[in-house]
């Protein structure tokens, strides 16, 4: 038998995007639309025209004609911009999504880690969550039992193992979650962006663990924005762009291909569109005006967004900054904060804005972008439109990294004038 454990041929995935999913998911709306379509269909039929299925619903290929093979023991990185289809690919391989076209052959037991701590419940204790999460990831009870001590040791949270998870710090949570996942023993493993959490030391342990897994002859497919990790862990890279596979080969080549497309700037993303507008692209720019995925704390935030508008006046462009746990950190609205609305002349516009410097803690962040109408109806929303990382955050002159995972929030508070400490008057009077 051949050594191929994953073979994907002609893989494609089509999503149907209703304009404003929130609304089209409503029963009443659907009924109205169905009735309208029926009338139109009857009319079409009478006139002998071809039948067109529901309008207002847009087809969107998140993945198209993807072919590749993975052999036993191979570790492969999947690289690509936001929205390139990486997660969609992993979800198809892990049977969460059904492919629209093509087929996948898998041989071997499969586990996928699309997020760490899936199913963790804050009310349950660490111990209970290990069993819950283990079962969700496909481990048998006796496997979890057999590895229980190893899992707890690896996580380093022994003391809190019988404490409800809601009392854990973010770092402890991430460590426990990764430990369960690290003890999965399947022939094939799919991993998506899980290294984005935790502190540097813990990330290193995760990386070590991943290379151990790889050396044990298991196959790993690995999505990461952390290019250094990708380079260190894998020898082969697959680059996706707008749902198509554009490169499959040595990791150096893959990284070169990816960075080249980054530097070209203008990447067309397929983020769909709203009823009256579409956010076409969005980038964080570095000091030279080139797109980047890292932000240096304390420097201005240069953002560039391309939008398409229609005739609707008063559309607001809004930014929501989130930290690695998706908690909101900051918000900006062009209408309410700057009294500037998007033009109501149809066309494509480039919006450039510089936000004042923020002293962000190190870790991952992302911006959700929305266009909002005057009646505060979300028109087009792109979650994680811009994701970026703060590699190190050092508010002082001593070597100290202010990290998200410390649990002290995500902003290092800065002094406006030097700190003054002097004896208080009352103290002197006494």
């Amino acid at each position: 038998m051949s050594d191929t454990v994953i073979r994907a041929t002609g893989l494609g995935k089509k999503f149907l995007i209703g304009h404003n999913v929130e609304y089209s998911a409503m029963l009443g709306e659907a009924a109205v639309r169905r009735a309208r379509n029926m009338v139109r269909r009857a009319a079409d039929m009478l006139c002998g025209r071809a039948l067109i299925e529901a309008d207002e619903i847009e087809e969107y290929w998140a993945l198209r004609d993807v072919d590749f093979e993975v052999r036993r023991g191979e570790v492969v990185s999947i690289i690509g911009h936001n929205g390139a289809g990486k997660t969609t690919l992993l979800k198809i391989l892990s049977r969460i999504l059904e492919p629209t076209t093509g087929r996948v052959e898998l041989s071997g037991r499969v586990a996928s880690l699309l997020e760490i701590g899936t199913g963790f419940h804050p009310e349950l204790t660490g111990r209970e969550n290990i069993f819950l999460n283990g079962a969700i990831l496909g481990m048998r009870r006796h496997e979890v039992l057999a590895k229980f001590n190893q899992i707890v040791d690896f996580s380093g949270v022994e003391k809190f193992i019988d404490t409800p998870l809601k009392r854990y710090s973010v770092g402890m949570y991430a460590r426990l979650a990764f430990s369960v996942a690290a003890h999965l023993e399947t022939e094939i493993l799919f991993v998506d962006e899980v290294l984005a959490v935790g502190d540097a030391e813990f990330q290193k342990r995760c990386l070590d663990r991943m290379s151990e897994v790889a050396n044990a002859g298991r196959s790993v497919l690995f999505v990461s924005h952390n290019l250094a990790a990708a380079a260190a862990l894998t020898r082969r890279g697959i680059v996706l762009k707008s749902g198509r596979l554009i490169f499959d080969g040595p990791i150096d080549g893959a990284l070169a291909q990816y960075t080249a497309s980054l530097e070209k700037g203008k990447i067309e993303r397929s983020w769909g569109r709203g009823e009256h507008s579409a956010i076409v692209s969005a980038d964080l720019l570095d000091a030279n005006g080139l797109p980047t995925t890292t932000y240096v704390p304390g420097t201005p935030f240069n953002l560039q967004v391309e939008v398409e508008t229609s005739t609707l006046p008063g559309l607001s462009l809004e930014f929501l900054l989130r930290d690695a746990n998706s908690l909101p950190v900051g918000f900006y609205s062009s209408n309410t904060f700057s009294e500037v609305a998007l033009p109501s002349m149809p066309g494509r516009y480039s919006c450039t804005l510089a936000l004042k410097p923020l002293f962000l803690a190190s870790g991952d962040y992302s911006f959700d972008l929305t266009t909002n109408s005057m009646t505060i109806v979300v028109d087009h929303k792109v979650t994680n439109a811009i994701s970026f990382r703060v590699a190190a955050s050092n508010p002082s002159t001593i070597a100290y990294d202010f990290k998200q995972s410390l649990g002290n929030g995500v902003i290092a508070l800065q002094l406006a004038t030097p700190l003054v400490i002097e004896p208080s008057r009352q103290g002197r009077a006494a």
Partner: protein, 278 residues
């Protein structure tokens, strides 16, 4: 670990998964652990926890007995105290309605899992069955307490109670699976569920005996499968005092089987698209 498939797995659009039912069996541990999670959370989160499981059915019994038995003066069955008659209807009703409502909301409620891992989705609406059964066992204690208070002892009929419990579960899960699949697609359908349950309470013989329905209407009334379930419970608990109306019971079975078939079919058909829309 050895009954996990290590052979080839082929994923393709519209491919009927022959291994689905085998998978369902293989994932039984996940089923139990999800059920255990729901039970643990229920008893951890409500401060009065277990007490609540006693107080609620007991208060409902008192209210129904006063309203239907004493104010409306509806007849009981044979010589059974009205409170026991009510309780024998209330128990299966609570079991069915809680499985139905928890099951219906379960897939949307577990969207985090559905979008991040694979497992046979049928596990999700089935897990509330366990929670419902545990609450049911608690309320059985009340039933036997009240019966003892009236100096009643169950006869041999009680041995068949498990059969009717199983029937109650089957009545609940068909609609639960159907509703769970529908709610994923049409979110606002979930607001209909409490309404359906409320109507169900009035059209089912919970607070009164099904025998007060005129004989000519009995068969039509039995189209509501809860009639069969509650009659079965009363027969098992009150013994000979409450004879079973057999044609009606058979009809209830047929309706239950039909709903179960529809529920499984709808669920299985839409299940593969859950992650697309959730």
């Amino acid at each position: 670990m050895n009954d996990w498939p290590s052979e080839r797995l082929i994923l393709e659009a519209g491919r009927a998964d022959r291994r689905y039912w085998g998978d369902l069996w293989r994932y039984r541990e996940l089923f139990f652990i999800l059920a255990w999670r729901d039970v643990a959370l229920r008893y951890k989160q409500t401060v009065i926890g277990l007490a609540w499981a006693f107080v609620r059915p007991f208060m409902t019994m008192v209210v129904f007995t006063v309203i239907f038995g004493h104010i409306a003066k509806l007849p009981t069955e044979g010589t059974a105290p009205y409170a026991v008659l009510v309780l024998a209807g209330l128990l299966p009703w609570t079991l069915v309605s809680s499985i139905f409502s928890d099951g219906a909301n379960s897939v949307l409620g577990n969207s985090q899992l559905v979008s991040k891992v694979y497992f046979p989705r049928l596990i999700i609406p089935l897990a509330p069955v366990i929670v419902g059964l545990i609450d049911f066992v608690v309320s059985l204690v009340i039933l036997f307490g009240v019966m003892a208070w009236y100096g009643m002892a169950p006869g041999w009929h009680i041995l068949l109670l498990p059969v009717f419990i199983a029937l109650a579960v089957l009545v609940a899960i068909g609609p639960a699976m159907w509703a769970a699949a529908t709610i994923v697609k049409y979110r606002d359908f979930r607001f209909v569920i409490p309404f359906v349950i409320q109507i169900g309470l009035y059209v089912s013989p919970v607070g009164f005996s099904a025998k007060i329905v005129p004989p000519g209407w009995q068969l039509l009334y039995s189209l509501n499968p809860m009639v069969g379930v509650i009659d079965g419970f009363r027969w098992a608990i009150l013994g000979g005092e409450s004879p079973l109306f057999l044609p009606g019971f058979a009809l209830s079975l047929v309706v239950t089987a039909g709903m179960l078939w529809l529920g499984i079919r709808t669920f299985r058909h839409t299940e593969r698209g859950f992650a697309d829309v959730i």
